[in-house]
Symmetry: C2
Subunit: 89 residues, 2 copies
C-alpha cells in the first residue's frame, strides 16, 4: 500500500505542477483572455504561495517544488490577464 500511496502523491503533485502549462501556452499564443476569470488566478496564486509556505513549514521539498512550478505558470496567465485589463482602460 505504501507504493500506491507514494504513487498517488507524486501523480497528484505532478498534475498540480503542470496543470497550467497548456493554459499558459494557449494564452501566450492566442492572447485571448476573454473567458478567463481574474479572481480565479488571484486565488490560485495566493493558494500556491500558501502551499509553498506550508511546504517550508513542513520541510517538504516536493511540496515546495511542485507548487512553485504551478505558481510560475499561473503567474504568466495572471500577468497576461492584468496586462489586457490595463490596455483596455
Amino acid at each position: 500500500m505504501e507504493v500506491v500511496g507514494e504513487f498517488l502523491g507524486y501523480l497528484a503533485g505532478i498534475c498540480t505542477a503542470i496543470v497550467f502549462l497548456p493554459q499558459s501556452l494557449q494564452t501566450i499564443k492566442t492572447k485571448d483572455v476573454t473567458g478567463l476569470s481574474l479572481s480565479t488566478y488571484i486565488i490560485y496564486c495566493i493558494g500556491m504561495v500558501s502551499w509553498i509556505s506550508y511546504g517550508v513549514y513542513l520541510h517538504s521539498i516536493q511540496m515546495i517544488l511542485f507548487n512553485a512550478i504551478s505558481l510560475f505558470f499561473a503567474m504568466i496567465i495572471l500577468y497576461i490577464i492584468v496586462q489586457n485589463k490595463i490596455k483596455k482602460q
Copy 2:
C-alpha cells in the same frame, strides 16, 4: 509556530477548494470558453482525483473535502468546455 503552520495549511486548502468558483460562475454566465484550455481542466480533474485518493490513503478528511469541492467546480467548467466542443462539431 504550530498555529502559523495550521493557518497556512487551512488557507492553502480553502484557496484550493474555492479557486474555480469564480471561473465556473463566469463560464456558466457567459458560456464563453474560447480562452479556456481543455487540457488544463482534464489535468486538473485527474490531479484532484489523485489528491482525493491520496487523502483517503492518508485518512485526511480535510484533504478529501477541500479537493472534492475543487473537483466539483472544475468539472462544471470541463463539462461546459466539452459541451461546447461537441456543439461545434
